[in-house]
């Protein structure tokens, strides 16, 4: 068993919520892109919702990160060297890479958000019209694909950030990046499925999202298994009595899409909605137990 004599960084709720919303934003952007590029015209409404959802999530992320700093007004030191005025970028430090990725992803999300607002008819501003016009056609597709790559990074790098440390649990596994990404995709699919229920024209899209979510939770199960196998006996510290309720929520969030979506149907209204709600709770619980549990 690896030796650890480290002190905990005391990352707490701001980081938990950042990890959750970062996964949601990255996943939602990707799913919105895929619904547009790979779905049918009936999916456009939910694709637009995906870009609308990604925006508030990604706006909150840097606020949470800034509030977590000991010196919030020095947030820009993440990007710019305050001594030399040059750029700070260390490809071997996930926190450094992540700061840049979040900034760039925010640009893509903001542009797509404005385009979605225009597409939904919520704004007729000339700038929004220009952006929507610019994003039509092949360039728009390329724009969304590149944005999705950054979204995937933002959803997953947070796990790598934890692993690139010397903390017990976090640094003893390679699975956290993949696990957070799979969970982020699942959370995003669940969020969009819940929102799609408000649209009469999105029944088929909701079912597509539920199918995708089932695939994401299978990935999550595999990565959780890899996580525990790589930890070995160290995993025991994540199963202190105080964390049991959270693990139950994690399990429900994984099982729900596999079970509830399948048994839903006429006369069983609400099951897919319940499944999606449990996915959100499970995704949050996973991050809480992994962040707090390893630091205890």
């Amino acid at each position: 068993m690896p030796q650890h004599f480290v002190a905990p960084p005391l990352w707490a709720w701001y980081i938990v919520w950042y990890f959750f919303l970062g996964g949601l934003a990255g996943g939602a952007y990707l799913l919105g892109t895929l619904l547009r590029l790979n779905g049918d015209p009936r999916d456009e409404g939910v694709a637009r919702l995906a870009f609308l959802v990604a925006f508030p999530a990604v706006v909150i992320c840097p606020i949470l990160l800034t509030l977590d700093l000991g010196h919030p007004l020095r947030f820009w030191h993440m990007l710019i060297n305050s001594r030399t005025g040059g750029l700070n970028f260390k490809y071997w430090s996930p926190m450094s890479v992540g700061a840049w990725a979040l900034l760039i992803f925010s640009f893509f999300v903001t542009v797509s958000f404005i385009e979605a607002l225009f597409g939904a008819g919520w704004t007729r501003h000339s700038a929004a019209r220009s952006i929507a016009g610019g994003l039509s056609g092949a360039f728009g597709h390329l724009f969304m694909v590149v944005g999705s790559l950054f979204g995937l990074f933002v959803a997953g790098y947070t796990g790598v950030l934890l692993s690139v440390s010397n903390q017990p649990v976090w640094s003893d596994t390679w699975a956290l990046g993949g696990l957070f990404l799979a969970s982020g995709l699942s959370v995003a699919a669940a969020t969009l499925a819940i929102l799609a229920r408000s649209r009469a024209d999105a029944v088929s899209t909701e079912r597509k999202l539920s199918r995708a979510d089932r695939f994401f939770v299978v990935l999550e199960i595999l990565l959780l298994a890899a996580f525990f196998v790589t930890l070995g006996t160290l995993a025991g510290r994540l199963f202190a009595p105080r964390w049991i309720v959270l693990w139950v929520l994690v399990a429900l969030g994984i099982v729900a899409p596999l079970v509830l979506n399948r048994v839903s149907g006429p006369g069983r209204l609400g099951s897919p909605g319940l499944a999606a709600f449990l996915v959100l709770l499970g995704g949050l619980a996973l991050r809480i137990v992994l962040i707090f549990g390893a630091q205890m």
């Binding site: 905990p8 895929l34 010196h71 690139v164 010397n166």
Partner: protein
């Protein structure tokens, strides 16, 4: 003038007087935490933002029913390959002209990634200043050609200070002396770990007993970059493929 400095802490000479802790706090104007009443004479507990030197009191069984104390004045190791410096996103942690590791207080933004990375639990977060803090190797004193406060006051010369090469020579000679005297457990810590430490320790037990990772366990955070990202990339590819398949199937209704 650039120099490569080092500490050599000989634990066999430490008497646990804590003069090093006091001198460090005095010189660096560290108010300290409220005292803790722990099991032994230790009332500071660990290295952190206020304790840049910490005297460990380690109880060991002597094998004949008795208990012996090992004492060690712990400090930042100023690693040649420093985990804290590796992860610091703001470049607040630098290597000085003395080859020591220094946190620039005007650059640090208190993200605490260095605390997660330091394998020796050296760095602490100061809630009042909002900064990560640790031993500076008395940077100001070095710049004025003075000995760091802890080494200056150590009454038994358990803490020695000088050129790193000189410290290595002194440490090796002392190790040989102890071995010749029959102290078979004596060993030197810090020659290989993290590219060589700037704080060497002469121990009389295995490193783990002093909360020091063994050389096999002295690893850098960046070791997890490639495999962590690889797992993410594989997951991303599978996730995208899964979504593409799910979205292509005709929705019912």
């Amino acid at each position: 003038m650039a120099r490569t400095v080092g500490f050599f802490t000989d634990t066999t000479l430490c008497i646990g007087c804590k003069a090093c802790e006091v001198a460090c706090k005095e010189w660096n104007q560290l108010p300290g935490h409220d005292p803790k009443f722990l099991d032994s004479f230790d009332n500071t507990g660990q290295l952190d933002d206020q304790n840049w030197r910490h005297v460990q009191f380690i109880e060991r069984s002597t094998g004949n029913g008795g208990v012996a104390w090992s004492m060690m004045s712990d400090v930042c190791k100023h690693c040649s390959l420093a985990s804290c410096m590796e992860v610091c996103p703001t470049n607040a942690i630098i290597r000085t002209e003395f080859d020591t590791v220094y946190i620039q207080p005007d650059v640090c933004n208190g993200c605490r990634d260095c605390i997660a990375a330091c394998p020796y639990a050296v760095i602490g977060f100061n809630e009042k200043t909002g900064l990560a803090q640790k031993c500076t190797f008395c940077y100001g004193r070095l710049q004025n050609n003075l000995t760091p406060a802890c080494a200056k006051v150590c009454p038994t010369q358990s803490i020695k200070f000088g050129e790193l090469s000189e410290m290595r020579t002194v440490a090796t000679a002392r190790l040989q002396q102890l071995k010749a005297q029959g102290v078979s457990d004596a060993q030197l810590y810090g020659e290989k770990e993290y590219g060589g430490l700037h704080a060497l320790f002469l121990l009389t037990d295995k490193p783990e007993a002093y909360k020091l990772p063994s050389v096999e366990n002295a690893v850098l955070p960046s070791r997890n970059n490639a495999r962590g990202y690889l797992a993410s990339v594989v997951t991303a590819v599978l996730g995208v493929l899964g979504a593409v398949v799910a979205f292509r199937q005709r929705g019912e209704g």
